[in-house]
């Protein structure tokens, strides 16, 4: 029962949900004519960055066999993505997207602080602990 032993990665799942919402909001900003920013490079940028955020958070939430270093790198890149998307959203004056990114940062913090550790080293450790018990 490894997965149960690892616990639920609430932060990662929340981040995944926020990423999906952010992608939808970015798509609306990109293609909704008359909003003052539609079809601009700025909106295509946030569309791309939120898509990457979705992919990254998917990996984080679903791929439990990540090497530790890769998990750390992914987590760090997601932070950069969140910050960059947040800045872009601020400069685009897309309040909803900015708010979503803000929640995403909270989710990222939850993941880092409270989620069960991920990465193959920790997974092995958990398995050993499980066997000992």
């Amino acid at each position: 029962m490894t997965s149960k032993a690892r616990g639920t990665a609430y932060g990662a799942w929340l981040l995944l949900a926020i990423s999906a919402i952010s992608l939808i909001l970015a798509a609306v900003a990109t293609f909704n004519e008359g909003n003052g920013i539609a079809h601009t490079p700025g909106t295509y940028l946030v569309l791309t960055s939120t898509a990457l955020l979705l992919v990254g958070s998917l990996l984080l939430a679903l791929w439990h066999g990540l090497p530790r270093w890769l998990g750390g790198l992914l987590t760090f890149l997601l932070l950069l993505d969140l910050l960059g998307t947040g800045l872009a959203a601020y400069l685009l004056q897309t309040e909803w997207l900015l708010g979503a990114v803000g929640v995403g940062l909270v989710a990222w913090l939850i993941h880092v602080i409270a989620d069960p550790a991920t990465g193959t080293r920790n997974q092995h450790k958990t398995q050993r602990q499980g066997a000992a018990s």
Binding site: G42, L91, Q93
Partner: protein
């Protein structure tokens, strides 16, 4: 790097992008109309403004056209031709002169002229919308003309700066494709349209431009006759059309079946017509026409003329010439491409006259040309100069006088002074007695730097105004640290190699830092005034450009090698010219923000009441901080209730601003920068604020055909 630095970087990129885009357009500069090479804004209108007629040639033509015409010297270097010179159109006797204001124009509910009224006050007594309720303002209706081009196909990009007119219970629009559209002012429903046969080609300007239409109606209309009320629109190929205001049908008695070919009076330069973008100024039964051309390239261009036409027949009453006859083989323009103002009580017409050609080198026109770059008062009946004040001597900066002077009576020192306020690209506000041309606030002739260019003779002094405080600082803003860092010191290195000795530093071979440059300062929109309080409001630009003279041999070599961007030949003179906006390699402005402000002045004291960054820079969709402001094209309107309505900014927003404090009280997103001034009118008891949203490539590569009216909810 701090967050503010990051924002600054983005902002700079935005503005830079806009500037770069404008440069890439090769449009001329900044004046909107003109079209000169511009770097940012405004559009050039510089170009435009070419004046038209050559005195000599015109006199010849007049002689051919009519034995009754005569040429009379008038004022400081001007000349007037009187009599029915030119091809007298068919159609009845000229109307007898009338005096006093037209009743239809004076209605407090109307917006009957380009500037709201002839005095160019841009003021309405409407007070239904107040600072307290303006936040409730919402779109009442929206209309799309269909006349828009982004330049991606055969039709050049459109630049639409037309103020809608509300008169005759109808809203009239003129489009950049020269169509006239009549709308129901309460619903936006189309009543009729008129489309002239005009080529949609860039004959004198890089863009398709339009500032709308003019309206006239007979003082004593003939019952049952058509065309007792008319709407006029001009074209880039110099055709002026007059149509019935109720039906849109051409007026048979106006010119040749409803059209007057103004280019028939362009006898000097057959390359470019006398483009008619600015609708005529209408006073009683006379149309006063200026024109736009192309003055940034050649030395010899059509010389500045203003025509007075009979509103009913199109027959020419008189022609005013801004340039002496003896110079027109070496220079031209000094034309009137912006709107004019007129005192309906005195019958004086006030015309903002542009710089002579070529714009940036004056070695072939070293004699005094006292009417060039001036504000000049003409007698509407005769066209003779009543007074004139030159605002730039020997203009080699393209400091066209581009805005109509605002006429207002000022209470000063216990007396009522009949005044006018003349904004300028130099950033000065010249406040003059409109009856005499004498300064209300001091104008001081100060020594300015000499030119080191071969053959050039820069004027030793130029007029300066300290009160009211200029709309931009005396000194250029200085290097932006962020732009310098990003450019690895490029901005500083560039600045070190440039000549800068304050305002009026002449163009030079090594390169001159020009502040303000051809973009101004103030641009063609001019300001607005509350005649009751004497508060004057005006938007401005803070842009730095580099003026560089290029010896003729080197210029031709560059030309042969295919270098074209930002280069202007300056005709057969000793130098060509390069205009460049002061940017780093990344396209960031090398100077500090703000890039545009909106300011209010108390004309009774000359004191500046407030000066706030206005609008937001937008590029690639990103908005920069409000403290950076925006380069602006357009003009404000003031209401009696203490509101300012204005579009003008890069961020495609229209705003309502508190006249007292400068605080933004309401803003609304529109389809593109609203570079026209709004029309504020009252129809069936309801106050409307209507914007024509056209866009301008100088601000943003975003165009539109949107007309949108705002009102309070029922």
């Amino acid at each position: 790097m701090t967050r503010q630095d990051v924002i600054t970087l983005f902002s700079s990129l935005l503005l830079a992008g806009a500037i770069g885009y404008a440069q890439a357009q090769e449009a001329p500069s900044t004046d909107e109309e003109g079209g000169q090479p511009q770097g940012i804004t405004e559009t050039q209108d510089d170009e435009s403004e070419q004046d038209a007629s050559d005195d000599e040639a015109q006199a010849d033509q007049d002689a051919d056209d009519s034995e009754e015409s005569s040429v009379t010297p008038t004022g400081p270097g001007g000349r007037v031709e009187t009599g029915p010179a030119g091809d007298a159109p068919d159609g009845g006797e000229p109307s007898p002169p009338r005096t006093g204001p037209d009743a239809w124009m004076e209605s407090p509910d109307s917006w009957a002229t380009f500037n709201g009224d002839l005095r160019a006050q841009k003021y309405t007594p409407a007070d239904q919308i107040t600072p307290e309720n303006v936040g409730e303002l919402e779109p009442a209706w929206e209309y799309h003309t269909g006349d828009v081009a982004d330049g991606s196909d055969e039709i050049p990009m459109s630049v639409w700066s037309a103020t809608p007119l509300f008169v005759n219970d109808t809203l009239y629009l003129g489009t950049p494709f020269y169509r006239i559209i009549a709308l129901d002012p309460g619903s936006g429903e189309e009543k009729w349209t008129f489309a002239p046969e005009a080529p949609l080609e860039a004959l004198t300007q890089p863009n398709m431009k339009g500032r709308g239409v003019a309206y006239w109606e007979a003082d004593e209309p003939r019952a049952g006759e058509a065309c007792e009320k008319r709407v006029y629109v001009g074209t880039m190929d110099a055709k002026l059309y007059g149509v019935d205001a109720d039906t849109g049908e051409p007026c048979a008695d106006f010119g040749d079946g409803g059209m007057v070919d103004v280019n028939q009076w362009n006898t000097v330069n057959d390359k470019w017509p006398l483009s008619l973008f600015q609708p005529p100024t209408v006073y009683n039964d006379t149309l006063f026409l200026g024109w736009a051309g192309k003055d940034w390239e050649d030395a010899v261009a059509p010389p500045g003329t203003v025509f007075a036409l009979d509103a009913r027949t199109g027959e020419r009453k008189w022609t005013f010439h801004a340039l002496p006859e003896e110079v027109v083989e070496r220079t031209g323009t000094a034309n009137v491409w912006a709107s004019m103002s007129l005192d309906p009580e005195s019958g004086l017409l006030y015309i903002p006259i542009s710089s002579p050609s070529p714009n940036y080198y004056g070695g072939e026109r070293t004699e005094e040309l006292p009417l060039a770059t001036s504000v000049t008062a003409l007698d509407t009946e005769t066209g003779e100069v009543v007074w004139s004040r030159q605002l730039v001597h020997h203009d080699i900066w393209d400091y066209d006088t581009v805005a109509p002077p605002t006429l207002v009576d000022i209470e000063k020192d216990g007396e009522t002074v009949p005044a006018l306020v003349q904004p300028s690209k130099q950033g000065f506000l010249f406040v003059l007695n409109r009856e005499t041309g004498e300064p209300v606030y001091p104008i001081e002739e100060r020594e300015v730097p000499a030119s080191d260019a071969e053959g050039e003779q820069a004027a030793p002094t130029q007029p300066f105004v300290d009160v009211p405080e200029p709309v931009i600082p005396d000194e250029w803003p200085g290097i932006s640290k962020l732009a310098d860092i990003v450019g690895l010191g490029e901005c500083s290195r560039k600045a070190e190699g440039l000549r800068y000795e304050g305002r009026f530093t002449p163009p030079s071979v090594e390169g001159t830092l020009a502040y303000p440059p051809t973009t101004g300062g103030s641009q063609w929109g001019g300001g607005a005034v509350d005649p009751e309080s004497g508060v004057f409001v005006i938007n401005s630009n803070s842009v730095v450009q580099i003026y560089r003279l290029i010896p003729r041999d080197e210029y031709e070599q560059r030309e042969q090698s295919g270098e074209t961007g930002g280069y202007y030949a300056q005709g057969d003179t000793a130098y060509g010219f390069q205009l460049e906006t002061f940017l780093n390699w990344a396209g960031m402005p090398c100077w500090k923000p703000p890039y545009g402000t909106l300011a209010a002045y108390d004309l009774t004291t000359g004191e500046r009441l407030w000066n706030e960054p206005f609008g937001q820079v937008q590029k690639h969709g990103f908005y920069m901080p409000e403290s950076w402001g925006s380069v602006t094209i357009g003009a404000p309107v003031i209401t009696r209730s203490g509101l300012i309505f204005i579009g003008a900014s890069m961020d495609s927003r229209v705003r309502a601003i508190d006249l007292e404090s400068g605080e933004v009280l309401w803003k609304h997103l529109v389809d593109a920068p609203a570079v026209s001034m709004p029309a504020v009118y009252t129809y069936q008891g309801k106050q409307y604020v209507t914007f024509a949203v056209g866009g301008n490539s100088i601000l943003l590569p975003k165009v539109s055909d949107q007309v949108i009216a705002f009102a309070l909810p029922d």
